[in-house]
Amino acid sequence: MESMTPLKRKQWDRALTFALFTLPALAAILISVEIPFLMSVFSSFTKWNGLDRAQTFIGLENYKELFLDDLDMWKAFGFTLRLTLGSVLVVNLCALLLAVLLDSDIRGKNALRAAFYVPNIVSLIIIGYIWRFIFSAGFESFFQTTGMDFFMFSWLGDVNLVYFSVLMVSVWHSLGFYLVIYIAGLQTVPRDLIEASMIDGAGRVVRFFRITLPLIMSAITVSVFHSLSNGLKAFDVIFSLTNGGPGNSTTTIALDIYRTAFVINRFGYGTAKSVVLFLMILILSIFQVRLFKSREVEV
């Protein structure tokens, strides 16, 4: 150590500190996610049913089939994109609006925040059952009391309406999650900046768009990124609410992958699909993160 120049010593120290801070996270993530995923990627080049002791190497056959001969998968992908677009927009706008309201000086803030958060911690099986019942039996009795035609439509059985039902349940379930992130973001905005602007005579709206919004950009980036990749991975809501039906009209790509791997027992093919899904999410996310991060402001 003594033979290093002061500059080299400083660089070495810096590198060591960097390693110290980042290696634990790296180790954990490698072990729990990335190494298992790479093992699965290897399977994507094989013909394997997930059970046989032997895996047959078939090179890019799975990928060829995926791109050229699997209309169902691309239909599922199309539906997934539509659903994601809808949910990202709706959930982020609603969560942000609610966060602003629930961060301001109003009575009963705590109770209201808890109220909107609770659906997020209930198991999706229950959610699926309850909402299924509301859509069918519940709506029937609402119809009897109110006579509104709205309640007689088949919200889960009609191909044209089921998109909205799924979107609604999905937003209902996840709103609370993004509410937490946005509230935390709003609270990192230094109060003295707000006060200063109030003294300067800035109105509510101006204050929000000029000061608050840029400073909570990091929370927005996180939320949009998370809701984007969650939307593209959507599985639980669909599984419990419609099971991809009617027919395959609400089958998302994650459900398609699950079925390919575990129901049809085409494990190799299924992992190939999940690799492609991952790459698509990766590309979209890099684009989105770069775009949003450039707007983040440091104090």
């Binding site: 110290l20 046989d52 069918s136 088949s154 009617p246 027919g247 079925r259």
Partner: protein, 419 residues
């Protein structure tokens, strides 16, 4: 620097109990069998049986019961080497799915005590690869009181009969069917029953039929009787209330039990839920129409739920002992008829206290055809895929020609991948 070392050591220390924790599971002592089953509706009955077995032999059965995630958990456990001693699966196509993991039961003494007809589904090339757990039947279940109240005295057998009965019920303000179309598995079991006689009559038997489909020589669109399937689905949908595509298993059983609907397509496993909802209900079994030929209309009767012994399980002998006990002991022989209340595959077993089981036996005794669940011979995965396509037909997404094409292409893909 010193601080860093301290932190690292602290972390390592924190990790050490981890390695100890994993090791402790190897303790010696009385044998515990690790079991993975589905059918959580039988949880109480499983517990009862476990207690009885422990009392008699001291061996503990540690049963984990799952349902929708069953397959993925089983696959993952078999894969990682964490093999359960005993597990469950379907018969027929699943014989090849799990071929690397199952123990060959052919030469076990207790297999001779099982009805040969029940062994058909688990025998491949003369080898018995599984133990038939239950014998089940499915067809149309009807509420006797609703039929009586609406003056229906002759039970329907053909499509025309069913249409007439439905018209009558509808005219009296009763919804004839709860479709169950939301469950993908209800569709195949309803649909394939409508052509249950066809493979034997026209294609040289079920095995030949499936072999031809697998080889691509035969396609669904070439089978003229598929129109019977569509006719039946159309009928059920027409008389299935305002939201036919939203009806699930719960809707079926509760609507039938309360008398809200008259008929559902289900199996004897539904009886428990139906009677729990309304203990006074009286239900009966109708045959499933095969077009307009009353003579070929029958019920679907087979043993599909199968128990399998893992050949690499740590407690192979103990597992076999348990199966022997299930087949030959006093408690074991009476467990399925008495506690599970379904039909047992054991020769000479008692009849269960189940309305549907009684009707099943009566129908079979009177000469009604009892068809095997031949659709379980289709490659694994077809049930869900073909079910979803049929569901799409019912939802109006595809017409008959498109549905047949979709069925063919989905089947061809799965068959090719299974080779």
């Amino acid at each position: 620097m010193k601080k860093m070392l301290f932190v690292v050591m602290a972390v390592l220390l924190a990790f050490s109990p981890l390695f100890a924790a994993g090791q402790q599971e190897q303790a010696a002592g009385p044998v515990t069998l690790n079991v993975l089953f589905y059918s959580p509706e039988l949880a109480e009955q499983y517990n009862d049986m476990v207690a009885a077995y422990k009392a008699e032999t001291g061996v503990t059965l540690d049963i984990t019961v799952l349902q929708t995630d069953y397959r993925s958990v089983l696959t993952s456990r078999l894969n990682s080497g964490d093999v359960p001693d005993i597990f469950m699966s379907s018969a027929y196509a699943d014989n090849s799915t799990y071929k690397d993991y199952v123990y060959d039961l052919t030469n076990e003494d207790f297999i001779k005590k099982i009805e040969p007809s029940a062994l058909q589904g688990v025998t491949v090339d003369g080898k018995v690869l599984g133990y038939p757990f239950l014998v089940q039947s499915h067809s149309f279940i009807y509420n006797k009181k609703v039929f009586a109240d609406n003056g229906i005295t002759t039970l329907p057998k053909t499509l025309a009969d069913f249409e007439a009965v439905s018209k009558k019920l509808q005219a009296n303000g009763v919804q004839p069917f709860a479709t169950g179309f939301k469950e993908f598995w209800v569709l195949p079991q309803t649909a394939w029953q409508a052509i249950a006689n066809v493979p034997a009559e026209n294609y040289g038997g079920y095995e030949n039929f499936v072999a031809k489909l697998n080889a691509g020589e035969l396609k669904f669109k070439d089978i003229p009787q598929m129109s019977q399937v569509f006719d039946l689905l159309d009928l059920i949908k027409k008389y299935g209330g305002p939201k036919p595509n939203e009806s699930d298993f719960n809707d079926q059983t509760s609507s039938l039990a309360t008398g809200k609907v008259a008929m559902i397509h289900q199996g004897n496993w539904a009886e428990d839920s139906i009677r729990k909802t309304n203990p006074e209900v009286e239900i009966g079994f109708l045959v499933g129409p095969t077009g307009n030929n009353a003579a070929t209309a029958g019920i679907m009767f087979d043993s599909n739920q199968t128990i399998r012994i893992a050949k690499d399980g740590k407690n192979l002998d103990a597992a076999l002992d348990w199966l022997r006990w299930l087949t030959t002991s006093e408690y074991g022989r009476n467990w399925i008829p008495g506690k599970v209340k379904q039909l047992s595959p054991i020769i000479g077993a008692a009849a269960p206290d189940s309305q549907i089981a009684k009707e099943t036996s009566a129908l079979l005794a009177s000469g009604t055809p009892g068809y095997p669940w031949f659709y379980q011979m289709f490659p694994t995965g077809t049930e869900q895929q073909l079910g979803a396509i049929l569901q799409g037909y019912c939802a109006g997404i595809t017409n008959r020609a498109q549905t047949l094409d979709a069925l063919d292409s989905a089947y061809a893909k799965i068959a090719k991948a299974a080779q």
